[in-house]
Every structure is written in structure tokens, then in C-alpha cells.
């Protein structure tokens, strides 16, 4: 009730923010991000490329966190679903000459379908077994992509048309920015709804959720299907951005990359992983270019980061932000309280 009244009281700007599930700070960051590639020194091609990679990572992190953070099942075959969308779209455009713009959306269907089946298959399994099962499914598809050479060209790589006939990264930046925003807003709105509550309940205690009338089966399947659908869609972008697709896009290590970003960013927030994706990609690329004589150094940091975060701060950046805002609010409250006392006799 109170919420409804609050909603009614909001002005237009606040309403728009609410629809987009953003805080003013979030909006500010987004606007800054949108103009960033136009401002020197960030307008260099390789930096924009990093940003595209970062945004792609951010969008994946949102889709990944949707299952991992809420129903508490790490979709360990996540990269395979991205790859499934990518290969579908790429094969359609190469073999049938379909426009990549349409292919990208068609790529949603196989990923969602396999996601749906994975959800059905893992129904009876506890969280961790479901994760392992999803991993096996991912491994199976990775193997298929390697071996079905007549379709995928195997490890040689499948050349496919890009979305645009340009060598500039800037248009891609805005495309992936829009795709990221769509993923974020759609999934965040779901998470905020009653369905999101059901997801959280299932993730925390499946039995308790069941006894309180939530049908875990249904919600788990819905969750898996949706998350995989977005993964497939993003895969389409990946294929037509790079223009070449190799089976390793489905490799477990790609899943781990997304997982690291989500865990450092903070699970069950959706925005946590997204927020740190770009800085994270930048940091990793910097390490890679500074220590170019030592390949793999950035991945050592990856591993170390993950270990340290998991042991000492499992809530990640999102928890830290919550802590900061709490602090801020508390200090403001104190000031208000003190002020009031000073005013009153």
C-alpha cells in the first residue's frame, strides 16, 4: 500500500528511473559511459574495443547472475549457451545468407530451448548437482561444435558476416550498450516482481519455498530458460562483432570469466557484476599489455581475486556499496537528529 502511494507521489523523472530500475547514480554512470567513447583519450579504437568487450561481459554477467545469484544454481555451462546462440546465428547467415540482425534474434530460440531442457533435466537435482549437470551439457555442446566440422568449421573457426560494414568499433559500442540495457531492465524488473521473490525463496531454501506454496519446478525452469535466452541473444552479437567463431567460445574457461566478474561484483544484485565488468576488463587488458612478456599473468590475478573475494568478502562490490550507503544514510540521520534537537528548546 505504502509502495503504491510512494509510486503515485513520484514525479516524471523518478518514474522513468523506476521503470529503468536505476538509481540516480546509476543513470549518471550510464550517461558518462555513453559519452565516454567520444571524449579523448577514450576515443581511440582499442579503448573502445575494450569497452565493447567490457559491456559484452557486463551483459553476460547480468544474465548469469539471474540464475546464479537468485535461484543459487551456478549455470556452469553458461558459455555453451552463449555459443549456441552465436553458432546458430553465424551458421544461418553463412549457409542461408540470413541477415545477422535477424539471426541474432533467431539465436535466442535454440539457447532458450536447451536452457529449458536443462531446467527440466536438473529439476530433481540439488543445486550443486544441477550446476555439474549444466556443465556436462556445456561440455557436450563444446564437443559438438568442435566435431561437427561441416557446420561449424571446427577449431579452424567459422567466418561469418559482421553486423555492419565498418571497421569502427563505435557503432558496436552503442549496439551492445542498448543490448546490455535491455537485458538489465528486463531481468531486473522480473527480479523485482513477485517472481523474483519466488526465485530468492527457492535459492535460499527449496523445501521451505515448496511448503509455502511456491512451485520450485516451474520457477527453476522459467529462470533457466530466460537466462539462457539472453545468453543466446548476446552470443549472436559476439559472432557478428568478431566475425569469426571458434568452439572455444563455449569453453568452461569462458564461463569462469563471467563467474569471476559476477562474484567480485556481488551476487544477487544484477548490477554488481555489470558495474565492475568494464573496469575489470580494462584492468585485465592493462595488465596484459604492460606485462606482455608474461602471458597469463592477468589470469593469475583472476584466480587470486576470486579466492580472496570468496574468503574475505563474499558479498562483493554490491555488498560494499550497500555498506557505504548505509553509512551515508546513518550519518545523515544523525545530523538530522542532532539538528532537530538544536532547533527545539
Amino acid at each position: 500500500m505504502a509502495e503504491v502511494i510512494e509510486r503515485a507521489r513520484m514525479n516524471g523523472f523518478k518514474k522513468a528511473l523506476d521503470v529503468l530500475c536505476l538509481t540516480p547514480l546509476g543513470l549518471l554512470c550510464l550517461v558518462l559511459l555513453a559519452v565516454l567513447p567520444l571524449v579523448p583519450p577514450f576515443n581511440q579504437e582499442y579503448l573502445i574495443r575494450w569497452m565493447v568487450v567490457g559491456l559484452f561481459m557486463a551483459a553476460q554477467a547480468v544474465a548469469f547472475d539471474f540464475t546464479g545469484g537468485y535461484i543459487n544454481i551456478v549455470n556452469f555451462g553458461f558459455a555453451a549457451f552463449v555459443g549456441l546462440g552465436a553458432y546458430t546465428s553465424a551458421i544461418l547467415s553463412v549457409k542461408l545468407g540470413l541477415s545477422p540482425w535477424i539471426g541474432m534474434f533467431i539465436g535466442i530460440f535454440p539457447a532458450a530451448l536447451v536452457g529449458f531442457l536443462t531446467g527440466v533435466l536438473t529439476l530433481r537435482l540439488r543445486g550443486i548437482f544441477a550446476a555439474v549437470m549444466a556443465w556436462f551439457i556445456g561440455l557436450a555442446f563444446w564437443g559438438l561444435a568442435t566435431k561437427l566440422v561441416f557446420l561449424t568449421e571446427g577449431p579452424l573457426g567459422l567466418n561469418c558476416p559482421t553486423l555492419l560494414q565498418t571497421s569502427s568499433n563505435l557503432p558496436y559500442f552503442y549496439i551492445i550498450l542498448v543490448m546490455f540495457m535491455i537485458s538489465y531492465v528486463v531481468l531486473k524488473r522480473i527480479v523485482r516482481s513477485n517472481m523474483g521473490l519466488a526465485f530468492t525463496a527457492i535459492g535460499q531454501n527449496m523445501e521451505a519455498a515448496r511448503t509455502s506454496g511456491i512451485n520450485p519446478t516451474r520457477y527453476r525452469i522459467i529462470n533457466f530458460t530466460l537466462s539462457c535466452a539472453f545468453a543466446g541473444w548476446l552470443g549472436g552479437f559476439y559472432a557478428h562483432y568478431y566475425g569469426i567463431l571458434m568452439p572455444d567460445v563455449m569453453h568452461t574457461s569462458k564461463t569462469i570469466e563471467v563467474l569471476v566478474v559476477v562474484y567480485i561484483g556481488g551476487r544477487a544484485s544484477l548490477w554488481g557484476g555489470a558495474a565492475i565488468a568494464i573496469p575489470f576488463v580494462f584492468a585485465m587488458e592493462m595488465v596484459r599489455s604492460v606485462f606482455s612478456n608474461y602471458p597469463g599473468l592477468n589470469l593469475i590475478f583472476y584466480g587470486l581475486f576470486l579466492i580472496v573475494i570468496m574468503i574475505y568478502y563474499p558479498g562483493g562490490v554490491a555488498q560494499f556499496y550497500a555498506f557505504l550507503t548505509e553509512r551515508f544514510k546513518a550519518s545523515r540521520l544523525v545530523r538530522l537528529a542532532v539538528g532537530n534537537r538544536l532547533d527545539s528548546p
Binding site: L121, A131, F136, L139, L259, L297, I311, P314
Partner: protein, 347 residues
């Protein structure tokens, strides 16, 4: 009269055993192995048994870590890698030296030395992982232990693989053979001396391991912790110590397998991934945390891979087993040996 009765009882039990999922799987595997060897030659069975023995070593460690510490480990393959690296760096310098100064006894014993060195390396790394990573995590994580420990093993795996690449590069470091002896012929199948001896060694270690778990004080304590942690604490078992011991044992087993297979799988940073996938197939197929089941399941998965390579082709040996195991799990999510009792070595 009583003799007869007990005999019929045994027969009943055998029939009952055969009707269980485990019995069906084992019977089917044996039939498939025999059929394939009639079709393709006896080497099918020999290959299955030799590789199965190795996967058994790796998978048992994985099952052990899950059973005792409740860790779904992704880092297990890296112990395999560390084992093969250690074996390589112990074996090659001495082997080069012996090339110039031949000495038959030293040549025969050197591989054993290399394997011992990898076992020690495995123990050290296992203990370090437990002390530096898992113990602090255990102190801080209560509720989401399984997921969190799983994620942390991902981090460990990434860290170890890339550190190895950082230090040793991406070269393939392999050897041609451990023992430069002529190949053996068993039932008309030629098998290299290495494979033969390594198999014998694996079986020996499996037997020792089983004895240790069954009848030694600490082996029993490990099983006790896996069956009831509170109970174990009540009878005076130091849980931390047992967990360290478990980690050391499991990583030592994996490292030994890595050392044993050096002549087939040269050491390079990601060499552990294949064994990791395989042992996961095995553990899931057999039922999580079931160590005896893992030993048997290893041969089933090995057979599956041998058959896949023969009848479908190279490179399918992850896809087909994965698909088969997914099918099995649809019918029986707890694995063929079941994991109703969260114990190990006990069914």
C-alpha cells in the same frame, strides 16, 4: 539343509545385485566390452582396463574430497598436472645422465623415484590448498559452503594453471617411455611395458588405499568424518587434521596418476582438464562421494571412451560419455551406485 539354504540365499543376493542399476550397468559394460573385443580384437579390454585403472586413481580422490570435506572440486585436475610436471623434472635430468652412464638398476628404479617425487609434491600442494584456502573459507562460510567452496576451487584452478604457464611456459614436456623394455604380448595384444607396469602400480595403490581406509585408524577416521562429522568430533577425532589428511591423500592420488601417465599425456598447463572431466563423469555416474563406486565407475567410463574412439571417432570422447551420463542421470539422479548414505567406501 542349511548349506542349501545359504547357497540359495547367496544366489538370491546375486540376482538382486544384478537387477540393481549398478549390476545392470556393470553387466552391460562387460557384455559391451566382450562384444567389442570379438569385433575389434582383445585390445579393447586391455585398453579399458589400463586407462580405467588410472582414472580410478583420480576419481577416487575426487570422491573422497566430496565425501569428507563436502567440496565439489574443480581443482583436482591441477594436482594431476603438478604430478606430471614433477615427474618430468625428476625423471628427465637423471634419465639424460643415465643415457651417458648406463646402469640397469638405476634405470629400473628411476621411474619409481619420479612417481614418489610427484606423490610428495601432490601431498605438499594439497596441504597448502587446505591450509591457505579451504580452512579460512570454512571459518567464514557456513550456509553456502558447497557453492562457495566450488567457486573457490575454480579460482584455485585458474591460479594454478596460469602460474604453471607463467613459470614453465606452454611447452609440452613429455617422455617417450619410463622403462625402455620390450613390449609385452598378452593374449595376442601388444602392450608397452610402461602401460603394463603402470597398471600394476595403480592396482597396487588402489589396494593399499582400500586397506588403509578399511582397517587403519586414520582411514577409519576419514570414513567416520564423512559419515557423521559431529559423531567424529564426539569420539575425539580432530576434524581439521582429518580434512588436511584427506586433501593430501586425494591430491597425492591425482599427482600419482599424472606421473604414471606422463608417457601418454605430456605435462603442460591445462593437461589436468581432461582427467578432471573424466573423473567428474565417473563420480557423477557412480554417485557423489562413493569411493568404491568411483573405482568401478572408472572402468565403465574408460570403456565408454574406448568404444567411442573405435566406433565414432577421435575427439568425441567427451561428448558421447557426457551424453550417456546425462541419460543415466535422468533415470537415476543419485548415480548408479547411489549416494543415499553420505559415506564413502560403504554402500
Amino acid at each position: 539343509m542349511t548349506m542349501e539354504k545359504s547357497q540359495s540365499l547367496q544366489l538370491d543376493q546375486v540376482i538382486k545385485g544384478l537387477k540393481s542399476p549398478a549390476g545392470i550397468t556393470i553387466a552391460l559394460s562387460i557384455v559391451a566390452a566382450v562384444a567389442a573385443s570379438i569385433d575389434n580384437g582383445f585390445y579393447v579390454i586391455v585398453n579399458t582396463i589400463v586407462t580405467g585403472g588410472m582414472w580410478a586413481l583420480v576419481a577416487m580422490g575426487l570422491a573422497l574430497v566430496f565425501g569428507v570435506m563436502n567440496i565439489v572440486s574443480f581443482v583436482h585436475g591441477e594436482f594431476f598436472m603438478i604430478g606430471s610436471l614433477t615427474a618430468y623434472f625428476t625423471f628427465t635430468p637423471f634419465s639424460d645422465y643415465l643415457m651417458d652412464n648406463p646402469h640397469p638398476v638405476a634405470e629400473a628404479l628411476l621411474p619409481i623415484l619420479a612417481m614418489l617425487a610427484s606423490v610428495i609434491a601432490g601431498i605438499v600442494v594439497g596441504i597448502l590448498c587446505e591450509l591457505i584456502v579451504f580452512r579460512p573459507l570454512r571459518k567464514r562460510t557456513r550456509e553456502q559452503w558447497v557453492m562457495n567452496s566450488f567457486v573457490i576451487t575454480l579460482g584455485l584452478s585458474t591460479f594454478i594453471i596460469n602460474s604453471s604457464q607463467f613459470v614453465f611456459g606452454t611447452d609440452f614436456r613429455g617422455i617417450v617411455s619410463y622403462w625402455d623394455y620390450p613390449t609385452l604380448s598378452i593374449f595376442g595384444v601388444y602392450i608397452s611395458f610402461d602401460r603394463f607396469l603402470v597398471f600394476i602400480l595403480a592396482m597396487l595403490v588402489l589396494g593399499l588405499f582400500w586397506l588403509f581406509m578399511k582397517s587403519s585408524k586414520f582411514g577409519r577416521a576419514i570414513r567416520a568424518v564423512s559419515q557423521d562429522e559431529t559423531g567424529a568430533r564426539m569420539v575425539g577425532i580432530n576434524i581439521n587434521g582429518i580434512q588436511t589428511l584427506t586433501m593430501a591423500l586425494s591430491s597425492a592420488l591425482a599427482a600419482l596418476a599424472g606421473a604414471c601417465l606422463l608417457f601418454m599425456y605430456p605435462a603442460y598447463p591445462t593437461v589436468g582438464l581432461g582427467p578432471l572431466y573424466n573423473s567428474w563423469f565417473i563420480v557423477i555416474l557412480a554417485g557423489m562421494g562413493n569411493v568404491v563406486g568411483a573405482a568401478v565407475g572408472a572402468f565403465v567410463v574408460a570403456l565408454l571412451q574406448v568404444l567411442t574412439t573405435i566406433y565414432i571417432g577421435e575427439g568425441w570422447d567427451y561428448t558421447i560419455p557426457a551424453a550417456c551420463i546425462i541419460l543415466v542421470l535422468i533415470i537415476r539422479p543419485s548415480g548408479i551406485f547411489g549416494s543415499g548414505v553420505r559415506g564413502i567406501l560403504d554402500q
